[in-house]
Every structure is written in structure tokens, then in C-alpha cells.
Amino acid sequence: MNIVSAIILTAALLMIIAGMFCLVRTYNLIRIIIAIELAMKAITLLLVFSGWVNGNLALAQTFVITMIVLEVIVAVVAAGIIVSLYRKNGNVDIRELTNLKG
């Protein structure tokens, strides 16, 4: 068992846990996106780690780059929706988002 591998995996898991915890706990819409970004950082780490482990780092890097592009677009769209919601509701509180239920 390679100690660095263990630490990388643990760090990735801690980041994911931090992200998920923040996701469930927070009331702020922007922080939800930050939480998702945190989880995505961990995933990036995992992707490069897997390439590092199996020796196919070049392929892993192409995955990471494509993923980053997607991540940015998601963040932009999310920010756009949040800003629009702010214009409608006057705040960015997730508890306001309960018009649709049942």
C-alpha cells in the first residue's frame, strides 16, 4: 500500500464530504455552488490520481481539461439562475424555493 495514494484518496474523500455537508446544511444558493465546486475539485484530483496510478496520465489530463470546461459553464449557468432569482425574490435564500411542492 502506497502511503501517498492513501493520503490522496483520503484528501479527496474529505473534500467530497465537506462539499456534501455544505450542500445539505447551507441556506445560501451561492454557497451551494461553491459546495459543488469543492466536490468537483476532489473529482479532478481523483481523475489525475487514476491516470497517475495506471500510467495513462495523458488521457487523464484530457479528461480533466474537458471536465473543467464543463464545470465553468455549469458555474456560469448556476450564477445566472441565482442572479435572476435574486432579481425576482430579493434574496438568495434556499427556503424561498418551495413554491413547487407536493
Partner: protein, 165 residues
């Protein structure tokens, strides 16, 4: 020595991530995220993934932070701090559940796997990277083109079009 730096950066990254969760101010939170991202870029560099590292540094810790900061400033939410009312017990109860499952998964992996690192010390050469990106991942390149188009339309719909209310 390289491995020591990797571990150090990882620890710092986790700390920065924790800070991003814990800070009450959204601005500080965003900046912590950017720091975590930058540290991640360092880790990637140390692992030999240079181009991924460059992208991470420029796009994630740069561009996304800009997006967040502008969103925060547009919505004036930096001041309104987190309300820490625990209305939903289920939402709090989920934390131990996540921890237990994650911990179990980690232990399960760590004590059952055997990692033989094939090429940890040899960073991917540029030609290998180029070969991988251009010759093998045609679909992803098309995907990137389309997603950028999608982002453009999203910006048009969400920002440019004025509401008629």
C-alpha cells in the same frame, strides 16, 4: 521530497476547502475556494499532469472565482450571513450518516486495495498529451464546442434578455 510536497499541498487544500465551507462571508468563501483550487493545481503539477494543472490554475482558480465574486456582488449577499437555525433535524442527522458511509468506504478501499503505481515519476510528455487529446478524444472536443455554445445561449437567456415584468 516530491511526495512530501504532494502531501503538504493536499493537507493545505483540504484546510482551504474546509475554510470555504466554514467562512460566513461569501467573499472569503470564494477566495478560499480559489486557494484550494490553486493548491490542487500545485498537486497536479507535482504529479506530472502539467496541462491539467495549468487549466486548473487559470480557469478554476481564476475564471470561476471571478464568476462567484461577481455573482456575490450582483446579489449583495456578502453581508447577509448564514442563518444558523436548525429547523430540519434530518438535514443535521445526515452528517453522521455521510461520515459513517464515507469512512466505511475509505477503510474498505484502503485495506483491500493494492496500488502499484505504474508511472508516478514520469510526467506525460506534451506529444503524448497532444496525441491523447487530438487523436483519441474527438467526441470530447465536439462536446466542448457544443458546451461553449450552450453557455453562450445560457448567458443570452439569463443575462441579456430583460424581464418584461
Amino acid at each position: 521530497m516530491q511526495q512530501f510536497f504532494i502531501v503538504l499541498c493536499l493537507v493545505l487544500m483540504v484546510l482551504a476547502g474546509g475554510a470555504a465551507v466554514m467562512f460566513r462571508s461569501m467573499l472569503k468563501s470564494s477566495i478560499s475556494l480559489a486557494v484550494a483550487s490553486a493548491l490542487l493545481a500545485a498537486v497536479l503539477f507535482l504529479m506530472g499532469a502539467y496541462w491539467a494543472s495549468i487549466f486548473e490554475l487559470s480557469v478554476c482558480s481564476g475564471l470561476i472565482t471571478v464568476v462567484f465574486v461577481s455573482a456575490v456582488s450582483l446579489t449583495n449577499t456578502d453581508r447577509c450571513s448564514e442563518v444558523r437555525v436548525r429547523e430540519h433535524k434530518a438535514r443535521v442527522a445526515v452528517l453522521p450518516a455521510i461520515l459513517i458511509f464515507a469512512g466505511a468506504a475509505l477503510l474498505f478501499i484502503l485495506f483491500n486495495s493494492d496500488f502499484n503505481i505504474v508511472a508516478s515519476a514520469t510526467p506525460a510528455s506534451f506529444s503524448a498529451f497532444k496525441e491523447a487529446l487530438w487523436s483519441l478524444r474527438q467526441a470530447d472536443i465536439l462536446g466542448q464546442i457544443i458546451v461553449i455554445l450552450a453557455g453562450t445561449f445560457a448567458v443570452i437567456v439569463l443575462f441579456k434578455e430583460r424581464d418584461n415584468i
